[in-house]
């Protein structure tokens, strides 16, 4: 079996005239749940878009399941859930999932759709139009649409945002189960207590990697009592490093922090 599901070397992404990711290097071990954490604007979504192959102006190496990211052979094997619920609001839950199952070429779509509905706990809402669902339910439909093709790698951009604690716990149980079955998950999140559910953690800040660690090591190395404070300690430390030499050039410091 492959050691790493995703291998990234010297990744550089330019958006407009700004370099949003500069020289990133990381691995996502196969069969694990990897959490992607970081403040908003740190490049999490850009990184995920590069992995699924829809990000433009990417240089460097992004290898996914042994192929170059975005190559046609991968499209059946990678499931992507965007940050905003990207499903059709004017279709029912089942109509949406049937369409995405058809696109993924699922052999028995009826069963795949029923399974995906069960996993995200939307039983009873099958015939409901997605536009009439609550925000949390809508994002679960979007998650189900990524699951319905049974992909080997799932790239989930904030799948638990806006969900209540019970649902969040249940979804993380699902993520753990999927990885136990051999699938790889790259999951971004803002909720730090979710970090403890991951096998590995990637902490991003300003388009770079601040830490590539495990939940246990994160706590030990920072000496913080919980993931949230450990994360803040790392971000603050990184901010301090960046602003320290700039104190001799106050004009540029202000410009830098203003961005």
């Amino acid at each position: 079996m492959r050691k790493n599901a995703v291998v990234i070397r010297d990744l550089r992404v330019v958006r407009g005239d700004r370099t949003v990711i500069d020289g990133l290097r990381l691995d996502v071990p196969a069969g694990s749940v990897v959490g992607l954490l970081g403040p908003s604007g740190s490049g999490k979504t850009t990184l995920m878009r590069a992995v699924v192959g829809v990000q433009d102006k990417v240089t460097g190496t992004v290898e996914v399941l042994g192929d170059a990211a975005g190559s046609p052979a991968l499209r059946r094997r990678v499931g992507y859930m965007t940050q905003d619920a990207s499903v059709y609001a004017d279709l029912t839950v089942v109509q949406n999932l049937r369409y995405f199952a058809a696109l993924a070429g699922v052999p028995s779509p009826g069963k795949a759709v029923a399974d995906a509905v069960a996993v995200v706990d939307l039983g009873g809402h099958e015939k409901q139009r997605v536009g009439t669902l609550s925000g949390g339910e809508r994002s679960r439909v979007s998650l189900a649409a990524a699951l319905v093709g049974d992909p080997e790698l799932l790239v989930l951009d904030e799948p638990t945002v806006g969900l209540d604690p019970v649902l969040r716990r249940d979804l993380w149980t699902v993520f753990r189960r999927l990885s136990a079955e051999g699938r790889t998950l790259l999951v971004s999140s803002h909720v730090m207590d979710e970090a403890t559910q991951c096998d590995r953690l990637l902490l991003m800040r300003a388009g770079g990697l601040v830490a590539d660690t495990t939940p246990d090591d994160l706590l030990t190395s920072t000496g913080a009592p919980d993931a949230e404070r450990a994360f803040l300690a790392l971000i603050d430390a990184a901010n301090a490093v960046e602003t320290a030499p700039a104190e001799t050039l106050p004009a540029e410091t202000n410009e830098e922090t203003a961005r």
Binding site: V54, R76, S86, Y88, D90, Y99, L103
Partner: protein, 241 residues
């Protein structure tokens, strides 16, 4: 092919739930033609002369608007981004939309031409050809809308495309003034606009011409449809900023 059919099935399901859009496509052209027939109720020859042009023109405009906004919504809602990570090819996407709207255009052509005949339109040429040209005009509107949506960044801009792309064609297509009476430059300009051929075919049918007289114009319309489909595929980007 399977993915094309899955996509057109999905688009048709979306339209089935959208009664306003279906009404806009089916009923609005009828209403407009009804108003004109009423306005000229004591000059039936006006309806005979202009009716065929209008059953070609109204569906084209309506379909342009509906497709450009529908495909733009797909770009904006993130669903297109998601589709681009699945095995669907760009051709499947455009053909899926094209097929769904062509199905609708067929029903529209039958309804609108049928209604025009009902309110007194008497076409000198063969009526089935009027239906065929109306259908092609509607499909042309769809495919132009698909291609135009690539240039728009918001629904507001998509709506702005309509006057920007269609109105110059409306002025030079021969509806306001016979094209041979126009200044030479405008006449030359009208030849590169697709709407000119749509109106030319209908004018010719209204005057009693048959297939052999309109096949040139029909051929040009088909070429424009193919061109707009190719443009629609080329402007679809798998990778975006």
């Amino acid at each position: 092919m399977t993915l094309t059919l899955a996509t057109s099935g999905r688009v048709l399901s979306q339209l089935r739930g959208d009664h306003r859009t279906v009404a806009l496509i089916m009923l609005l052209p009828c209403l407009l033609i009804g108003l004109i027939a009423w306005m000229f109720h004591d000059q039936p020859q006006v309806v005979d002369q202009f009716g065929p042009m209008l059953v070609g023109l109204f569906p084209l405009i309506v379909m342009f608007l509906v497709t450009s906004v529908a495909t733009l919504r797909e770009r904006q809602s993130g669903t297109l981004e998601r589709l681009m990570t699945t095995p669907i090819r760009k051709g499947d996407f455009v053909a899926g939309y094209g097929l769904a709207f062509a199905t609708l255009a067929l029903v529209q052509a039958l309804v609108v031409v049928g209604f025009a005949v009902l309110v007194g339109m008497d076409v000198a040429g063969p009526l089935w050809l009027v239906v065929v040209v109306a259908l092609l005009d509607a499909i042309l509107g769809c495919t132009l809308g698909l291609a135009a949506s690539a240039l728009a960044r918001s629904e507001f801009q998509a709506v702005q495309m309509m006057p920007a792309i269609l109105f110059p064609q409306l002025i030079t297509c021969g509806l306001l003034m016979p094209r041979d009476q126009m200044p030479e430059v405008l006449e030359w300009l009208s030849r590169v606009f697709p709407l000119t051929y749509a109106i030319e075919a209908m004018t010719s049918l209204a005057a009693g011409d048959d297939w052999s007289d309109v096949r040139g114009a029909v051929g040009v319309i088909v070429l424009f449809i193919v061109g707009a489909v190719v443009l629609g595929i080329l402007t679809l980007r798998r990778r975006t900023a």
